[in-house]
Symmetry: C2
Subunit: 241 residues, 2 copies
DNA sequence: TCAAAAGTGTTGCGCATACACCCATGG
DNA sequence: CCATGGGTGTATGCGCAACACTTTTGA
């Protein structure tokens, strides 16, 4: 293994991704247990090649971690405070850890990695059932965590997540992107529960149904018989006009 | 004069500012006639010190060009396409021009300056009457141009401007930031004309007045007698609650 | 007294919420 | 037949837009 060619990447610039998924009536975020240093939690992220667009870099990060392509992805903010750095204690531990790990890392590379970074925040919406999380080099493991159960993360990643969630809330209705979180077919009730998870508040059942159907973006399919002793709900599919 | 110390700055990252002003019922943008190369138009911009927050860098750019501090300033988007570079012909001209200009520039510095950049877009709102545009090093001169009369600019700066205007439109109402474009006191009619310039559409006089006053952020002052043979409008001052 | 523009009140419409009712399903 | 939850129709209230009217100013 050769030393990492940091010259291929833009220094001091990174990408951080808030990857949203939805399951069990909960909005979830894919976060990474960092392999080195003090083993803190982080948002999945990466760097930008000097010859690569930032959107491309973000989708590359996503492909690496989720295996998926053509994911809904949008930048929402840049985080560039001057004190956006690991504290010196943690930095020393991390550098030592990395150098000890294998020969790809030396003083220069680890200094590069632990230097001050300006990060572009992206959020992504995925069908959680299609994802097979794959660890990146820096991931001890990846985990889907409920939005209500997010641990303390490194740097300002908790703040990034908050901004990402805010961006999702702003856009869910305007851009009709919520369907990216659901499987191919779903019932109105399932969309409603998704909305309730995102906005953390209840919606009136009948009005919600009317609002969603009035968007004219759903195709009604066959009924979904669950065996429950009540009227079977219709399944729908999202159709872009 | 010594060679420019490019090592102090983050490479491949820049700031571009859409500086909005308002005058003569027109929304205006401060743009720069570039001094070197083919002398194209550009948005005022700058680079980020390795020890400097990006917001700080943006306000430094603004202070340099307008002389003003504490300006309303907000980032709205990152522009990071991989083909965001000057074309090779223009690049060669620019490098030659700069190297010929004075000894601060050499091959290394000009290559740095003309390399691929990822740019953070900021928009700023200023009271145009308080601004005394001061040329930066790269500015032949600065000019306030009406939003309806923007020339072809270099790179993707026209696109950046479009996004900046869109951000202004999104936030004007929600964040009550339009007053930053007006002098200390103003009439309702003047706010209305500002809104009409920003959104490029008329507003109904009476409803607009009601809407603005219902915000409860204006203090009514004395009347403004203009000598016109009609009822004198009140002056108002913006008060933050 | 009059034209012009400011200020204020009133009505109507559309949308979101609240309330009410009927229908299908399986025990 | 009944409990449960799905689907749909109707009333209500609020905010915005359209319309109408009054007031002030200086010629």
């Amino acid at each position: 293994m050769e030393k990492i060619d940091i010259g291929k990447f833009i220094a001091h610039l990174s990408i951080d991704c808030v990857i949203f998924g939805y399951k069990d009536k909960e909005l979830k975020v894919l976060i990474s247990k960092f392999k080195f240093g003090k083993g803190t939690w982080m948002l999945p992220g990466g760097h930008v090649l000097k010859t690569e667009g930032i959107d491309k870099a973000a989708s590359r990060v996503l492909k690496d971690r989720t295996g998926l392509e053509n994911i809904y992805l949008e930048q929402f903010r840049v985080f560039g405070d001057e004190n956006r750095i690991v504290n010196s204690e943690h930095k020393a531990i991390m550098k030592a850890d990395l150098i000890a790990y294998d020969e790809r890392f030396d003083e220069e590379v680890t200094e590069w990695i632990t230097s001050r970074f300006i990060s572009v925040g992206y959020y992504a919406l995925v069908d959680i059932h299609k994802v097979n999380p794959k660890n990146g080099f820096f991931d001890e493991y990846l985990e889907w965590r409920s939005i209500n159960d997010i641990p303390q993360m490194n740097y300002d990643h908790n703040e990034i997540l908050t901004y990402g969630l805010e961006a999702l809330r702003q856009n869910l209705d305007r851009k009709l992107i919520g369907f990216n979180l659901l499987p191919e077919t779903f019932t109105i009730k399932e969309i409603q529960e998704l909305y309730e998870a995102v906005y953390d508040r209840p919606f009136a059942r009948n009005n919600f149904q009317k609002k969603i159907l009035d968007l004219n973006v759903l195709e009604r399919l066959e009924k979904k018989f669950t065996g429950a002793q009540n009227k079977a709900p219709y399944l729908y599919r999202f159709i872009r006009n």
